[in-house]
């Protein structure tokens, strides 16, 4: 990659991603509303929300939570940048993962009942999410022969046909990151929940906006991982379609299920997710896929 490309990728990752993500959550809300027989907010609603939050008077419950909010955003952005620079997949995922840990840490740093519970549940959520996300790199690397994302691009063939099992399992972390049913146990998109938005309880105003924006990066990050399953040459829109397809399935599932409990989530993620990805790798090893 030339340095021009690098700079361009970084700029896209840092600036364009939140714009796209904001629009995407606007569409998400609109679609969800329509599925529920409502009209829903305007598509640019998320931007109104963020700007409004930024304009609110700061109000905090402790300094540590702010530091972790920044760390969350910083590391998540780093992960997105690494992805844009087509760096090592495992490393990128690890960075993303440790960014995600900052969110519960921020929540746990305030002695607040709901924040604490949200933090603990978020940790359990990461316990379910992280192994799947990391492990999904394995069948990919088996197929393309390296962990470098650049090599996925160089591979020249779509991964989905041989890795559809992994792709399907990856929808679990996507739903988890998007905080959708049945996995929205720690901090739901919607407030009507026993934890009063859990990990986000103690953030307000500009800091809530900060965390929200970080969350946008995170969403785009996982969706881009889905997109990696169909990169062929210059047909970049195919990966976009694949990613959006996964996103839409998650939306549908959100609307046809209720929230389940953490124990179900961990058992499901570990039991089904890990087993299936491992199975996928074994099948590739055996040359059957």
């Amino acid at each position: 990659m030339s340095s021009g490309w690098i700079i361009a990728s970084v700029i896209i990752a840092v600036i364009v991603v939140p714009l796209v993500a904001g629009l995407l959550s606007g569409i998400d809300r609109k679609l969800t509303a329509h599925m529920q027989g409502r009209i829903g907010p305007p598509i640019i609603q998320p931007f109104y929300d963020i700007i409004k939050l930024l304009g609110k008077k700061p109000m905090v419950a402790g300094q540590a939570q702010l530091v972790f909010a920044w760390a969350f955003v910083g590391l998540t952005v780093t992960a997105v940048v690494l992805l844009a620079l087509r760096q090592d997949l495992v490393l990128t995922l690890l960075v993303f993962f440790f960014g995600s840990v900052c969110l519960p840490l921020g929540a746990l740093s305030v002695k607040s009942p709901y924040s604490q519970y949200g933090g603990h549940r978020e940790l359990l959520q990461l316990l379910a999410l992280e192994p799947i996300l990391l492990l999904s790199a394995i069948p990919v690397s088996l197929k393309v022969g390296s962990f470098l994302i650049a090599d996925i691009f160089a591979h020249g063939q779509p991964l989905l046909p041989s890795l559809w099992i992994t792709f399907a399992v990856l929808l679990i972390p996507v739903a988890l990151v998007m905080r959708k049913s049945p996995f929205d146990i720690a901090g739901s998109e919607h407030a009507h929940q026993e934890l009063v938005r859990g990990v986000l309880t103690e953030y307000s105003g500009p800091y809530l906006a900060l965390v929200e924006v970080g969350h946008w990066y995170a969403k785009i990050f996982v969706l881009s991982i889905l997109g990696l399953f169909w990169v062929v040459g210059s047909l970049w829109w195919l990966s976009v379609i694949i990613a959006l397809g996964g996103w839409f399935i998650v939306l549908i599932v959100d609307n046809v299920t209720s929230r389940l409990t953490w124990s179900w989530m961990v058992k499901f993620a570990w039991g089904c997710g890990i087993t299936l990805i491992t199975l996928n790798s074994v099948l590739i090893h055996l040359g059957w896929m």
Partner: protein
């Protein structure tokens, strides 16, 4: 010069330790400890400049008999101790097993050496053999362990004051304590440098004995039970050594030199696989891997913090041997299953740690779980894996010791090692909290070296064929579990009630904060300078093992590049620095912007963690952590983990037989 220093690294601590035993004045003892510490640290720095390796030290013929006799005396002493215990406290499982295992270790060697093959030459094989790997190991021990001793000077003083206050202590036990601490350092250096299996076995046993004595330091019934458990489990290693000595002598190689065994390898000489397996079992017991993890967790409950801290390098000694001999069996089925075993062990302990409440128990579980990663690396055996293993040895030693020491200080401060009681430490001891946080983060997040090593391990594990999927699945789950328990602990110490007052730094205690900050410095610097460190310290090890270091990493402008990908550690450091600096620099929290936590509207006032409940009374808010004992409790998991460990070990030996 170097030879002398190496010998001093082993002998000097033993000598000064013995002096401590007789010195009754604590100031003098402290002086001796300082001097020893300074000597060890300085000589390791000097040795670090020494690149004309390997160094060999051939002992004279009589030394063989000295070592033999010492070994026998040591094992006899162990039998004696166990016998005394049986007389005093009745027959217990652990003391009986101690006697059985000690005899099983002693008798074969005695028969072999005195009766069957007294001609086994010691002169032909070097007694000590210092290559880059063992030097690195020796330096790590000689730099970190003296710091533990310095820390212990203050710690044990407080500890004994507390015990005296409780009326549980009549006479100071510190002379004995420092004796064993220092001897343990010498013995660990001995393990690092020995090449002759007889010597190795002797030092190996000596470390076990010291560990045993240190664990029972407080002389409570639980401590004694825990100590004996440690003793017999770790002595299994010596049984393995005894068997390995005999087997390798009767192998075609006709040697008892570790170096010779490793350089010839099991591929050429399949009979060597059994001695290797036995050495690995020795390492596994000592590193407290499944199914032997019980000793570590039990010991964690009963002994003072510096003991835990020094038990960490002690356990590392176990995986060091496994990693050291791993080039000898690379590529065999045995190696693959060793990797699976390590991954399973890592996951098991990671899960057990989630349900632990004691800070030391968490640390022990995490230590074992991390050491298991090194075993995985040994099993994988590629250059990259070897690199990952060595890096893990380095970074983990620093971070884990740091954490143990932090836990000790916290424990003395809050008078409990229950993580739940550490709530709000961030307000009371901001500096200590900062150090602990750095230590925990150094285990978890990029850009610290441990993450790099784990990344390298993952890269390496991906290429071992069909079993790699299993190994990796277990590894990923274990990484996930680790994050949960660390974050939980971190959350607890950071947890504080919102208040508009700002926290004040606690007074600086050199023995504590000084030592801790030194270790933090090591952790950070070693991670920042990872590329030079790799070039200087690790590349020679890879070369020494007969590999091409290109296959592990190449360095370019502070990046490490593996065949699988690039580790861009340096940019991440910058990001982290920025991320941490922005809020600190820009966000001065104004007191009036502080609001109490959300408590459904029933808060009492800012700065108070109470809410109004029944009958308008103030009710304290309690926010305990998650321990998921129903799902992940130690007892519950042990029902699966111990059988699984036994079965996996069985499979390992089955692989040897194949």
């Amino acid at each position: 010069m170097a030879e002398v220093l190496i010998r001093l690294l082993i002998l000097l601590p033993i000598v000064t330790g013995s002096i401590c035993l007789v010195v009754r004045k604590s100031e003098v003892r402290a002086g001796i400890v300082y001097l020893t510490a300074i000597f060890l640290i300085v000589s390791s720095i000097v040795l670090a400049q020494q690149w004309s390796l390997p160094l060999k030290y051939y002992a004279g013929p009589t030394s063989k008999w000295i070592v033999l006799v010492l070994s026998m005396v040591m094992l006899a002493y162990i039998v004696f101790v166990a016998a005394v215990d049986i007389r005093r406290r009745g027959v217990t499982l652990h003391s009986v097993l101690t006697i059985v295992v000690a005899l099983a270790a002693a008798i074969p060697v005695a028969v072999f050496q005195f009766a069957l093959a007294p001609e086994v030459p010691l002169v032909a094989n070097p007694a000590l053999y210092v290559d880059h790997f063992s030097l690195l190991r020796g330096i790590l021990i000689s730099v970190t362990c003296p710091l533990i001793c310095v820390y212990a000077i203050r710690y044990m003083k407080n500890h004994e004051e507390h015990l005296t206050h409780l009326g549980e202590l009549k006479r100071t036990r510190q002379p004995r304590f420092f004796f064993y601490m220092l001897v343990l350092i010498g013995a660990m250096n001995g393990v690092a440098f020995s090449d002759n299996l007889l010597w190795l076995a002797f030092f190996w046993g000596l470390t076990t004995l010291c560990a045993y004595a240190l664990i029972r330091h407080d002389e409570t019934p639980e401590a004694i039970a825990g100590a004996f458990r440690t003793l017999w489990i770790c002595l299994i290693g010596n049984v393995g050594f005894s068997a390995a000595i005999i087997l390798s002598w009767y192998s075609p190689l006709n040697t008892i030199s570790l170096g010779a065994l490793v350089s010839n390898g099991a591929v050429g000489y399949p009979v060597l696989l059994l001695p290797f397996a036995l050495l690995c079992v020795a390492g596994i017991t000592k590193a407290g891997q499944i199914p032997f993890h019980g000793w570590g967790i039990k010991a964690a409950l009963v002994s003072p913090a510096p003991v835990h801290a020094i038990l960490y390098p002690f356990m590392t000694t176990g995986v060091f041997i496994v990693l050291y001999v791993s080039p000898g069996f690379v590529g065999t089925q045995f190696a693959t299953f060793l990797a699976i075993f390590g991954a399973a062990s890592s996951l098991s302990l990671g899960l057990i740690a989630i349900s632990q409440r004691g800070s030391i128990s968490i640390l022990v579980c995490s230590a074992i779980s991390n050491l298991a990663l090194i075993i995985v690396c040994a099993g994988i055996g590629t250059p990259l894996a070897l690199t990952a293993g060595v890096m893990l040895v380095i970074f983990l030693t620093i971070s884990m010791i740091l954490l143990y020491l932090c836990a000790g200080v916290i424990e003395q401060h809050v008078r409990s090692n229950d993580v739940e009681d550490m709530e709000g430490l961030a307000r009371k001891q901001p500096l200590l909290t900062g150090i602990t946080m750095t230590a925990i983060l150094s285990l978890l997040v990029a850009p610290f070296g441990i993450l790099l090593s784990k990344w390298a391990a993952i890269q390496a594990a991906a290429v071992i064929g069909i079993w790699s999927s299993l190994v990796l699945a277990l590894l990923m789950l274990s990484i996930g579990a680790a994050t949960v328990f660390w974050a939980k602990w971190l959350g607890r110490i950071l947890c504080q009630t919102p208040t508009s007052e700002s926290a004040r730094l606690e007074p600086f205690v050199p023995h504590y904060h000084g030592v801790l900050l030194t270790l933090v410095g090591f952790a950070v610097l070693s991670s920042v300078f990872i590329a030079p460190l790799y070039n200087a310290a690790i590349v020679p090890i890879i070369v020494g093992a007969g590999y091409d270091p290109i296959l592990a990493f190449t360095t370019e402008a502070w990046f490490l590049r593996a065949t699988g990908g690039v580790f861009a550690g340096w940019p991440i450091f910058i990001v982290v620095a920025i991320v941490l600096l922005i809020p600190f620099a820009t966000m001065k929290v104004r007191p009036e912007a502080t609001r109490p936590a959300f408590m459904c509207g029933e808060n009492v006032e800012i700065g108070s963690d109470e809410f109004v409940a029944v009958g308008d009374e103030r009710t304290p808010l309690m926010t305990g952590g998650f321990y998921i004992e129903g799902l992940l409790g130690e007892q519950r998991l042990d029902r699966f983990v111990i059988p699984a460990g036994v079965v996996l070990l069985g499979i390992l030996f089955a692989m040897v037989a194949l």
